[in-house]
Amino acid sequence: MSNNTVPSNKPVKSTDLHIGEAAPGCKKRDPILVADGVSRTFGGLKAVDVDHVEIPRGAITALIGPNGAGKTTLFNLLTGFDKPDTGSWTFEGRPLSGMPAFKVARMGQVRTFQLTKALGLLTVMDNMLLGAKGQAGENLFRAVFPFFWSKQEEANRVRALDILERFKLDSKKDDYAASLSGGQRKLLEMARALMSEPSLVMLDEPMAGVNPALTQSLLDHILNLKAEGMTVLFVEHDMHMVRHIADWVIVMAEGRVVAEGDPHEVMRNPAVIDAYLGQHHDEDLGEDPAAEEERVEAIKELLD
C-alpha cells in the first residue's frame, strides 16, 4: 500500500467508456462481456445477484467489494466453473451461458484463480506450453508421431520463452513450478494464461500474497495487457492499486453491483462507503485483526 507499489510512469487511462450516467449496470460504448440476471445461491445465501453488468472492451476494469461480496463466485459463473441458478451472458456478442469452462477459455476468455493453481510437478516451461491453443500433439493419435507436432512445439517454446523473459521467469524455465515463490507462481499463472492469446483476461486477486518487490512488475504486466489490446477484469483489495491502474471500477456487495464508475469518483459514492462500513458493522470486532485492519484501511482510503 506504500507508494513504491505504484509504477513510475503514469498509465494512460481509458475514458469515456460508458453511456449516460455512471450507475450500477450502466451501458458501455463497446462492451466485451454483457451479463443479465445472473444469480447463484448457496443454501439460503444469495452469493451473486447481478441484474445487469457490462465490461468495457480494451480497458482495465476492477471488481471490488468486501470479502464475501460474491466476486469470486461471479468469476466462476462467467467462466463456466460454476452453474448459475438464473441468468445469461454474452462474450464478444456470442452467448456463453451453460458453456463448459474449457470452451469458454478457447473462445478467448481466460482466468486465473484466487488460490494460485501452478501445476507444481510440471516445469515452468511445461506450464507455459500447456497454455498454447490448438496443439496438434494434444491429440492422442498424433502424439505418437512427433513429426505432426514438433515444429509447432518449437514455435510455442520460443513464444513461451519470450513471455517468460518479460515476466523474469526465464531463468527458472526448467525448475518445477512447485519450487517458485508465491508471487512467482502468480506471475507464472498470468504468463501461462497469455500463452492462449486471450481477448479477455480475468484475474482473481492477482496481488494477494505477492511480495511487494514483485507487486510493481505485476502492475506493469497488467498495464501491458491493455497496451497489447487485451481487456482486463480483475478483483483487488488494494485501493491504491485500483485507483492507479483501473479505468473503470465495479463495486459489489452482498452479491449485487452497488456502484460503478471512474475509480476516483466511485470511491466517493456513498453506496460504496456503506458497503464497506456495512461489512464492518456486521462482524465481531477483533475476530480477524488482519482483515479488520485491511477493512479500516480500505475505508480510510475511500474517505480520503
Binding site: 467462466t79 466453473f81 463448459p100 469452462a101 474449457f102 470452451k103 477459455a105 478457447r106 481466460v110 482466468r111 486465473t112 484463480f113 493453481k117 501452478a118 501445476l119 507444481g120 510437478l121 510440471l122 511445461d126 506450453l129 500447456l130 497454455g131 491453443k133 496443439q135 496438434a136 500433439g137 494434444e138 491429440n139 492422442l140 502424439a143 505418437v144 512427433p146 507436432w149 512445439e153 518445477y176 512447485a178 519450487s179 499463472e189 501461462r192 494464461a193 500463452m195 492462449s196
Partner: protein, 327 residues
C-alpha cells in the same frame, strides 16, 4: 540341508516369466491412470478378467481366431472403461475409486455365477483356448536355453510375445508422455481446474487415459492366462493391490518402474516361498506348518515392499526431487 541353488534358480526364472510380463503390463496401465493422470482405478483386476475371459470365450464358444479374440477382449475393456468413466470422471477422484472397486467385483462375480456356466465355466473357469496362439508359433519343436531358463518351443514363444508386447507398450507410453498429450495428462494430475481454464477438455482426456490404461490391463489379462487356465478367483481385489504394490515399488509415474517393479516382486515372492518351504522341511522353523508357510511368503513380500517404500518412497525409478514437493 537347504538347496540354495534351487531356490535361486526358481527365483531367477520369474525374471522373464509371462506372469511377470503380465503384471508389468497391468502395472504400466495403472501408471497411466494413477501415476500420470491421477485417476484412482482400483479395478485393474476387472480389466484383466475381461481380457482373460474375452479371449477365452470368443475362442472357445465362438471359434474366433487369435486376433479376433484379442479385439473382443479390448472391445470389452473399452466398453467397461466407458461405463466406469461416464458417470464418475466428472466427479471427485474418490468416486472413481469406489466405482471401479465395485465394478471389478461385479465382473468377477458375473464370471463366477452358474448362470453363464456354458460360456464361463463358472467357478471351474476355462481352458483349452491356447491352440490358436500355439499355432502361430514359428519356433520348431524342442527344448532351448540354458541353466534355469530352459523351455520348450511354446514357453519360449509365449515369453517372446509377452515381453515384446511389454516393450512396445513401454515405448508407446514413453512417447505419448513426452508429447503435448502427456503434458495435458500430467497437468490434470496436478490440478484439473487449472487445465480446464487453459481450454483443455479434461473429461475427454481422463476418459482417454482410463481407456488406454484399461486396455493395457486387458492385454495383460490375456498374457496372464496363456501359461495357465482362466480361473475366476484369480481376479479378486487383491490382484489389483498387488499391481499397485508393483507400481509403487517401481515408481508411479515412470515407464520402467512397473517392469522392474514386477520383476522384483515376482523374484522376491518366489525366493521367499522357496526359502520358507525348504526351511520348514528342514525343520528350521518348527512352529510353522507348510500350509502356513504359503501365507508367510506374502507377509514377507509385504514387509519387503514396506521397507522399500519407507526407504525409497519415490520407488526404484522415481525422481527424488519430485517427492520434495508432494503436498
Amino acid at each position: 540341508m537347504i538347496d540354495w541353488g534351487a531356490i535361486f534358480s526358481n527365483a531367477a526364472v520369474e525374471l522373464i516369466s509371462p506372469t511377470t510380463a503380465a503384471y508389468a503390463l497391468a502395472a504400466l496401465g495403472l501408471a497411466i491412470h494413477f501415476g500420470y493422470t491421477g485417476l484412482l482405478n482400483f479395478g485393474q483386476a476387472g480389466f484383466m478378467a475381461l481380457g482373460a475371459y474375452g479371449f477365452a470365450i470368443s475362442t472357445l464358444s465362438f471359434g474366433f481366431p487369435v486376433w479376433g479374440a484379442v479385439l473382443v477382449g479390448i472391445g470389452a475393456s473399452v466398453i467397461f472403461a466407458l461405463i466406469l468413466g461416464i458417470p464418475t470422471l466428472r466427479l471427485r477422484a474418490d468416486y472413481l475409486a469406489i466405482v471401479t472397486i465395485a465394478a471389478a467385483e461385479i465382473v468377477r462375480l458375473l464370471f463366477t455365477t452358474n448362470t453363464f456356466q456354458s460360456f464361463t465355466g463358472s467357478a471351474n473357469g476355462l481352458s483349452g483356448y491356447k491352440g490358436g496362439f500355439a499355432g502361430l508359433n514359428p519356433i520348431p519343436e524342442g527344448r532351448y536355453g540354458f541353466g534355469p531358463f530352459e523351455y520348450n518351443e511354446y514357453d519360449w514363444w509365449l515369453r517372446i510375445v509377452a515381453w515384446s508386447i511389454v516393450a512396445l507398450a513401454c515405448l508407446f507410453t514413453w512417447q505419448i508422455m513426452r508429447s503435448p498429450w502427456g503434458r495435458v495428462i500430467k497437468g490434470i494430475r496436478e490440478d484439473e481446474d487449472a487445465v480446464r481454464a487453459l481450454g483443455k477438455n479434461v473429461y475427454s482426456y481422463k476418459m482417454q487415459s482410463l481407456i488406454l490404461g484399461g486396455a493395457f490391463g486387458t492385454i495383460a489379462g490375456m498374457i496372464f492366462v496363456l501359461p495357465r487356465a482362466v480361473v475366476p478367483s484369480n481376479y479378486q481385489t487383491s490382484l489389483t493391490f498387488f499391481i499397485y504394490a508393483i507400481l509403487l515399488l517401481g515408481g508411479a509415474s515412470t515407464i520402467l518402474g512397473p517392469v522392474i517393479g514386477s520383476m522384483v516382486f515376482w523374484v522376491l515372492l518366489s525366493f521367499f516361498s522357496g526359502f520358507i518351504a525348504r526351511a520348514v522341511e528342514a525343520g528350521w522353523i518348527p512352529f510353522i506348518t507348510s500350509i502356513q508357510a504359503g501365507q508367510l511368503r506374502f507377509i514377507l513380500v509385504g514387509v519387503a515392499i514396506m521397507l522399500i517404500v519407507i526407504f525409497r518412497p519415490q520407488g526404484i525409478f522415481g525422481n527424488k526431487k519430485e517427492l520434495a514437493f508432494v503436498k
